[in-house]
Amino acid sequence: MANATKRLQREYTDLVKAPPTWVNASLVGDNLQKWKASVQGPEGTPYEKGTFNIDIDFPNEYPFKPPTIKFITKIYHPNINSEGQICAEVFSSWSPQLKVTDVLNTIRSILVDPNPENPLDAEIAQIFKTDRNAFNKTAKEYTKKYAK
């Protein structure tokens, strides 16, 4: 069936050639289907100055099935649960035309703009909606404590 390797090779080469400033991606060992990335917390958000480590696993059917993303660094965010799993539209309405960079961009955009209407952690979403100051405070504390 699908051969993920060829496209992953190309995507990896492209990313290494022209990496975005806010992310640093590399392979785990020499396995093209396992990547790790460190995302810089976007400026002007409670995640600013933090570095968040992410595991990216590509299924054999990639790109026909989406990669699995997991936050290794603990983060306080309505769309990311304590296991580091992440909920975003890009995965539920996946298209084989999308690439790793699209996934990374999505991650960055939900850090900038959390979506409390579609939360993975309802409690955090509630605080985000009702008491933004408290949310920002806790998120900053988490960033300081875990995302060094």
């Binding site: 699908a2 060829k6 496209r7 190309r10 026909f64 099935k65 309405s93 298209s95 035309q97 999308l98």
Partner: protein, 519 residues
């Protein structure tokens, strides 16, 4: 209550049920409604007094080919009405509209553009994009392809055929939802039509895709349901929404179309609502009952553990298996010698004798009494249910016995047919008996109908057990051809008697007892 009024209570006809405004009554009677004969076209109830219990055959067993031609008939009708040339386009529209032909035509007439775009078939006249003219870079595998190696739907998102194949085959592998697969482009809502699947994916996988289309035809159609028997490939069309009588699938499984449940099967003589109530109770009580039943399967004499693996209630604690030879009734665990009319005894095994419990006329005992009463019925229900569970094994054994008869007595295969008939009759009896204990449990404890019902039920138990014993006669006991013929005649006769008795029982319960027992 006059006869006429009584019949009003049975009324199946929707209109008259509404007139009487008595839906709960209608509910209670749902089962026997189904057993009456009606002319539904004009709502007139015909021959009601004479043939109200005639078996109805208003259902149809469908195989894959039937489903295929039915769905294609609908596709063709829609094509003709809406003047759409392509089967694939209409099929997609129909799937979007849950195979509701009338609604599709109506919505299409109202606003064809909107319907088609919602359904993911924006251009029903042209499903695919025109061929590419130059080399195309596939946005999935990122390679370049000659124009004849790429394909696009009407949305013109071009991908190479290899990526299309992977994409579609992976989607089919995901299951039934693949029939709504859209173009791979992000957020594109154009649905991949059947012809594209056919042209691109392998024939085996296309076969699977096709069966999902037929599945959607059945799943979306309230009048057609899959037979719930494991592994059965048939579905059944039953045009009567209100039909409550069992349907018989070609796989041999007989069941209530309304409940459509393999475990429940045919639950005559109970109405569906009663079965629901019973099963709910059974699951609520299951812990109590399991506990109390757990240690009660021992020989009443020597306490050897006994497993019941045959059909009959007449148990013998086998000496050659370390038992004591005691013969007893599985249901009441009393000595078998007290059972049956030949001994002049009284076959009282289907009666829960409340008077005994009443000796302890203590209110604190009521809950326990109720549980005991329930256990009584549950135990009998389970016993017959378990006999049903080993039905397949019983059929297999019957076939084995047939073979033995053929070789031992040198008879024609037609001479062993009676054995299978007896097997099926026994199974049918057990099923009716099983649900008769549900029915009995909910009968008014003091009513006259209860007496009559229990009398009939007891007779049915007796006949069933007798047939079962006769049926299980060991071939070794039949010395010669004459002995075999005599046995054969006995079994044949008794099968016939039992059948008649069972039919009378079912019809009697459905027709005669319900009317007054519902209060």
């Amino acid at each position: 209550m006059t006869d006429d009024e009584m019949y009003e209570d049975y009324d199946v006809d929707d209109d008259s049920a509404e007139e009487s405004g008595n839906e709960s009554l209608d509910d209670e009677n749902e089962y026997d409604e189904g057993t009456q004969e009606f002319d539904f076209d004009d709502g007139q109830q015909s021959q009601r007094t004479h043939s109200k219990l005639t078996r109805q055959r208003s259902f149809e067993v469908l195989n894959k080919n039937d489903l295929f031609s039915e769905s294609h008939k609908i596709i063709k009708e829609v094509k003709d009405v809406l003047s759409i040339p392509s089967d694939a386009a209409v099929s997609a529209l129909l799937r979007f509209m849950k195979w509701n032909k009338e609604k599709l035509i109506e919505r299409y007439m109202e606003n064809p553009e909107k319907l088609c775009s919602d359904a993911g078939v924006p251009n029903v006249m042209k499903l695919d994009a025109p061929p590419a003219k130059t080399t195309v870079s596939c946005l999935i595998c990122l390679d370049d392809y000659a124009p004849d190696k790429v394909f696009a739907l009407s949305c013109n998102h071009k991908y190479c055929l290899g990526c299309w194949k992977n994409y579609l085959e992976i989607n089919v592998g995901e299951g039934p939802e693949c029939i709504y697969t859209t173009c791979p482009a992000p957020k594109c809502k154009v649905v991949v039509h059947q012809d594209a699947f056919k042209a691109i994916i392998s024939p085996e996988i296309y076969e699977r895709y096709n069966s999902f289309i037929l599945k959607s035809y059945v799943d979306d159609n309230p009048q057609v349901k899959w037979c719930p028997a494991p592994g059965c490939i048939y579905s059944i069309r039953c045009d009567r929404k209100e039909r409550k009588e069992a349907v018989l699938c070609k796989c041999g499984f007989q069941y209530c179309f309304n409940c459509n449940d393999y475990d429940i099967g045919d639950h005559m003589p109970c109405p569906c609502s009663q079965v629901d109530k019973w099963l709910q109770k059974a699951s609520d009580e299951s812990e109590n009952v399991t506990w109390m039943l757990a240690n009660t399967k021992k020989c009443p004499e020597c306490r050897s553990p006994i497993e019941k693996n045959g059909g009959c209630m007449h148990m013998t604690c086998r000496k050659n298996a370390g038992g004591c030879g005691y013969e007893f009734c599985w249901l009441c665990r009393g000595p078998w010698s007290e059972h049956g009319s030949t001994t002049g005894g009284y076959y009282n095994c289907n009666k829960y004798d409340k008077s005994k419990a009443k000796e302890d006329d203590d209110k604190a005992q009521d809950a326990k009494t109720e549980l005991e009463a329930y256990m009584f019925y549950y135990h009998r229900y389970e016993s017959h249910r378990n006999a049903m569970k080993i039905a397949d094994e019983q059929r297999k054994n019957a076939h084995l016995k047939e073979q033995q008869i053929l070789s031992k007595f040198d008879v024609r295969s037609a001479d062993t047919k009676f054995l299978m008939e007896a097997t099926e009759q026994l199974l049918r009896n057990r099923r009716v008996l099983q649900y008769s204990y549900v029915y009995g449990y909910y009968l008014d404890k003091k009513s006259q109908e209860r007496n009559l019902f229990e009398y009939l039920q007891e007779d049915l138990e007796k006949h069933t057990n007798f047939l079962s014993t006769l049926y299980e006669t060991s071939l070794e006991k039949l010395e010669d051809y004459q002995g075999f013929i005599k046995w054969k005649e006995q079994v044949t006769n008794y099968t016939r008697i039992t059948k008649k008795f069972l039919d009378n029982f079912v019809e009697g319960v459905a027709g005669g007892l319900v009317s007054t027992a519902q209060h």
